[in-house]
Amino acid sequence: MPTLSWIEQEEELTEAALTVRVQQLAPDDIGGLSWPTFAPRVDVDTTEINEINEIDDRPVADRREWDARGRLIPMRTPDQRKIEFIPIEARDAIREKEINKLSLEVRGNQGIFRDVIGARIPARADRLAKADLRRIEVDYISAWTSGIVTQVNPENGETVPMGFQFASSRLQTAPTAWGDVGISAYNEFLAWVLDGVDTIGSAAGVRLRRARFNEILADAPNLANSVKMTRTQLEQRITDDLAIPFRFFVDEEGVDTFTDGGTVTTRTKRWPIDKIALVPDDLRIASTAFAPVVRAQDLIAEFPEAGIDVRGCTLYYDKENGGRGLTMEMQLNAFPVPHESRVWVIDVA
């Protein structure tokens, strides 16, 4: 009966080799993920991080009389956030039955068996790493649009939210839905954008779902002969109105989220249907803190020439049951840290 004890002797299937492989995957999954653009990686040394916010402090000095002292400019301290975060991990398992079935397919040919099962494992490792990266995607968008990151228990789907305690003015709710009759979504949108630009500085555009964009477009002024503007024309019109380059980041991408501890997933749009967020001019709304994974440090100590990123996705095996089972675990210590001073979001439902 073949077992999986040989896997770690195969050069391309060692923990170190697969770790190096998955760390070379594109962090944005070849354009499928947006976190490297909007919440780029920042290396940190620990899973307990301090974030110090900027303060908007503009004191004015006063004139003084001759031979007297001037105005004391007092110190102000910024808000600080201390965050402790827990790891992201995806796992897969190969069990005896799968080994047995495959063994029968290859009629006991050990060489073919090893080739076939060996070819599957790297692909599985890639899949686990991409799942880890998608968690960053979901979390930073949630942090941005609601100020909350939600931990989902992988065993039973229970949720535990953690809030960033943003000021309420950063995450607004429209008093009347922009899609309601009698409301000009375009006018409401422009007013909100202008307030946002005043608050966070220059903007590059907004990120939203297509349904919300369509509402804004529908209420936008028409061209001559009652012709509706195109998206490009609307972007140009707003660019002209605001005197800053402006674009709509329409996001309809989806991910498959688990709703309980089982295996069933639901294809869910990553961007909330009713949220519109102002995008800063450099597109950066957050940082993603990457902390070292202890197991990666062990691999680096064992294979110093492998070029392993101590803060990247790290694979480790857990052989069980006399080699009859193999669990692959892919760990990533990463967490989004949104910059409150750049958050300007409205719920328009």
Binding site: P74, R76, T77, Q80, R81, K82, I83, E84, F85, Q151
Partner: protein
């Protein structure tokens, strides 16, 4: 353990209240049991520029005793007691730590009162004016 966030709100810090040089320091024990949360903050620090009279070798708050005058004010916030003190816990404190006070100085009153979070009371204001006091306070 879940993800955890602890927010520490920012804000104003204690400001330097001295308009001119603050000098001639004296190191004396302070009677903590006579202090209140008007002089000690939530972190257990004696707030800056609390006016003290001297009774023997002990610094005490001005309490309207005849002829009392301000002997000195502490230069900056000083850790005295544990966090979240109350008037009750302060009254029961017998530690009498040594602090340094400026005995000659000129204070900017508005900064002092912002630091204390209260106005100087009538006893303190009178004590600043009496003979023996070498600390002046600007008009507000």
């Amino acid at each position: 353990m879940p993800n955890v966030l602890t927010k520490i709100s920012g804000g104003a810090t204690y400001a330097d209240p001295f308009l001119g040089p603050a000098s001639h320091p004296a190191q004396l024990k302070v009677d903590v049991s006579a202090l209140t949360t008007g002089e000690v903050d939530a972190k257990g620090y004696l707030k800056p520029n609390v006016p003290f009279k001297r009774v023997g070798s002990l610094l005490k708050l001005c309490d309207g005793t005849a002829a009392e005058f301000v002997y000195g004010v502490n230069f900056a916030a000083i850790k005295l007691v544990a966090e979240n003190p109350t008037n009750v816990t302060l009254a029961a404190d017998t530690s009498d730590p040594i602090i340094a006070v400026a005995t000659i100085a000129q204070l900017q009153r508005d900064i002092c009162e912002d630091n204390l979070g209260r106005a100087f009371n009538v006893n303190e204001l009178a004590a600043f004016e009496r003979a023996g006091d070498h600390i002046t306070v600007t008009a507000t």
